[in-house]
């Protein structure tokens, strides 16, 4: 049928999968809500899958198992860039469209939806510098996860380039372990009683940092990426300066849309892709935008309240 005559509806037997890692993170909730909303609007099914661990090979297995179920499309947030190149290649070769979101893998896919990690890092650096008045000492925490490393690296680079008065005095490899991060921060603060700020590229370490800051008298400005209810509460109480939150809902929604458009050939771009039998789309980068959560707007970000208001079903996989 001609593209212009198609309707955004069905076929009902299509199932789209979202595949993530470390599923104990609130971030995916909103992302999957967006994904699911779009799916429901189109009258197809959406399923959430992934691994609870921080483990590349396990996520590859989960991904490959999704492939065996002949899905209509997969939205993937890979834990490890390189490890997913071949699996994504083989899915694409089997005509299963793949979209990456939040984190990427360096091979052809139909799209990549994210807010820029560089932008987040730079944004964070500037926000931090502003809060500190352009001078002081800061600490960062790290993880072995490419997008987090990019955030931290740009954070440090931006400070160095734009705010010479600010010094990064310590880095800690947190691997998202709150209790250990907390202890590390306390030690660093001992050594640097004038520590002014802490930046964490993810939530759990951010929470630990805020906890430490509170116990140290609340003078340290804590900034992190990602949010959850505990973080929001801390922000509202002024225990944390703020959080940078990519628009996860839109990430999910847009990811779905790209998959759907591709799978059902809803578009007809002027590039010969359909003639060659390739996927119609290969969007290099779609930005879903980001928000800075501060004490002013934190109350709008509670996932549970939002879910309740939406009348959404619980976020459960099956």
């Amino acid at each position: 049928a001609q593209v212009q005559n198609k309707k955004f509806s069905g076929p009902a037997d299509q199932t789209y999968y979202m595949c993530t890692f470390v599923s104990g993170v609130e971030y995916w909730v909103a992302a999957f809500e967006g994904f699911k909303d779009a799916a429901r609007q189109m009258g197809v099914k959406a399923v959430y899958q992934g691994t609870t661990e921080y483990d590349g090979p396990k996520q590859v297995t989960a991904f490959e198992q999704i492939m065996t179920k002949k899905p209509a499309g997969i939205a993937l947030s890979p834990v490890d860039d390189a490890a997913f190149i071949e699996p994504v290649k083989s899915a694409m070769a089997k005509k299963i469209p793949v979209v990456t979101f939040a984190s990427d893998t360096n091979t052809a896919k139909v799209g990549f939806v994210t807010s820029s990690n560089e932008k987040e890092g730079a944004f964070a650096a500037r926000a931090m510098a502003k809060a500190l008045g352009g001078k002081g000492k800061v600490m960062v925490t790290r993880n072995t996860q490419t997008n987090h490393q990019i955030r931290v690296n740009t954070f440090i680079k931006t400070l160095k380039d734009e705010f010479p008065g600010i010094e990064v005095v310590a880095e800690y490899m947190s691997q998202q372990d709150g209790a250990k991060t907390y202890a590390a921060i306390m030690s660093v603060a001992q050594k640097n009683p004038d520590l002014g700020g802490i930046f964490s590229p993810e939530g759990p370490s951010g929470r630990a940092a805020a906890q430490a800051s509170v116990e140290l008298g609340g003078k340290i400005k804590v900034l992190c990426c990602d949010m959850d209810a505990a973080i929001l509460e801390m922000i509202q109480k002024g225990q944390m300066m703020g959080s940078i939150q990519p628009n996860a809902y839109m990430q999910g929604y847009l990811s779905f849309m790209i998959l759907y458009l591709t799978k059902n050939q809803m578009v007809d771009p002027l590039n010969g892709a359909s003639a060659k039998g390739d996927f119609l789309l290969s969007l290099p980068y779609v930005d879903n935008g980001l928000d800075l959560i501060t004490a002013d707007n934190a109350k709008y970000f509670y996932t549970n309240d939002w879910l309740k208001k939406r009348g959404s079903k619980q976020f459960v996989g099956w």
Partner: protein, 337 residues
């Protein structure tokens, strides 16, 4: 188990055994661990002006006061010849259940905490039943229970951390309050009291002595009129309760509950206990020794942080210091032979 058999960790144990006799009550083992800790502390005092400060020690103690409860529990499980891999999951689950009861069902927090302890006991009892009735190995049983525990925690919390800033101050106090103007956190005092009590009991109380008997030779224990199953059941219930207690303390301290709370606590607890002289073969170990073990680990961690060891080097240096410290410890009391 064949008593005439020397098991895996044998050369070490055999040697320790002989040394142990010299020191009669096993005082040597802990003595050398203390020396290693003091030595490292001395080095750090020279290397960092921040080491010998009240704040630093407070931080250090705070870093293991709560997990220390789990170490005590794990030590008892190891002494009995078992192991409990579900402690971390119980901590997380109890935190989430107590938090949910408080937040969503508006239950009185103390009542919720009591229910949390009850849940810990229940999980311990289930572990105990699988181990004593069906006869599964403690490793497999508690591994399965660990997954079930994390699973329930994840399902209940929907994978989202529970915000608990609204906890009453009296409850928060047990996790983060200071005692009067002393600057001594309540939770550290609590920890010290619990350690003291359990260490005392483990040396003196008949009920804990039975755990040693069971761990040393289960058959002999049976032939001495000890109800082995009851003892093991008791151990796992106690472990469950202590882990639950740690979970409750941790929500009081961090004012949030998550299913990823205590992912590394199992290995940390086993490591601390083994460093402190417990053996995976049972019958050996002391509470005090295990607490020294966790203190040593915390000291290493603190030292690295104070020394500005880069993030990528920390694990490397931790491993090296651990190996050197434990070897020194070991060699030093091998010399006493």
């Amino acid at each position: 188990m064949n008593a005439s058999t020397i098991k895996g960790a044998a050369p070490a144990d055999a040697k320790r055994g002989r040394a142990g006799r010299l020191g009669g009550k096993g005082g040597f083992r802990e003595g050398t661990t203390i020396l290693v800790i003091l030595g490292l502390g001395l080095i750090m005092t020279f290397l960092s002006p921040y080491f010998l400060t009240v704040e630093n020690f407070r931080t250090m103690f705070m870093s293991f006061a709560i997990n220390g409860m789990v170490v005590i529990a794990m030590t008892l499980a190891l002494i009995s010849g078992g192991i409990d891999l579900s402690v971390g999951a119980v901590m997380a689950l109890v935190g989430i259940v107590v938090g949910t009861l408080f937040l969503n069902l508006h239950m009185n927090i103390w009542l919720a905490a009591a229910i949390g302890i009850g849940l810990g006991l229940l999980i311990g009892a289930i572990n105990g039943l699988f181990i004593t009735r069906i006869g599964l190995s403690p490793f497999i049983t508690t591994l399965g229970m660990m997954q079930v525990g994390y699973g329930v925690a994840s399902v209940v919390s929907q994978g989202m951390p529970l915000p608990l800033q609204s906890l009453p101050d009296a409850f928060k106090f047990i996790g983060r309050g200071m005692i009067g103007s002393t600057g001594m956190p309540f939770v550290i005092l609590l920890f010290l009291v619990v350690v003291f009590v359990f260490d005392f009991l483990s040396r003196r109380a008949t009920i804990i002595r039975k755990i040693y008997y069971v761990g040393s030779n289960e058959k002999s224990a049976r032939f001495s009129g000890i109800n082995v199953n009851k003892v093991r059941m008791g151990v796992y219930m106690l472990v469950g309760a202590l882990a639950a207690f740690a979970g409750i303390l941790s929500i009081a301290r961090f004012n949030s509950a998550t299913n990823t709370l205590a992912t590394t606590v199992n290995m940390d607890a086993i490591s601390a206990a083994v460093i402190g002289g417990a053996s995976l073969n049972g019958g050996e170990g002391t509470i005090f020794g295990s607490v020294l073990g966790i203190a040593l680990l915390a000291l290493i961690q603190t030292s690295l942080n104070l020394m500005d060891v880069g993030p990528y080097w920390q694990s490397l240096v931790t491993g090296l210091v651990l190996l050197v410290a434990v070897s020194l410890d070991f060699l030093s009391h091998r010399k006493t032979r």
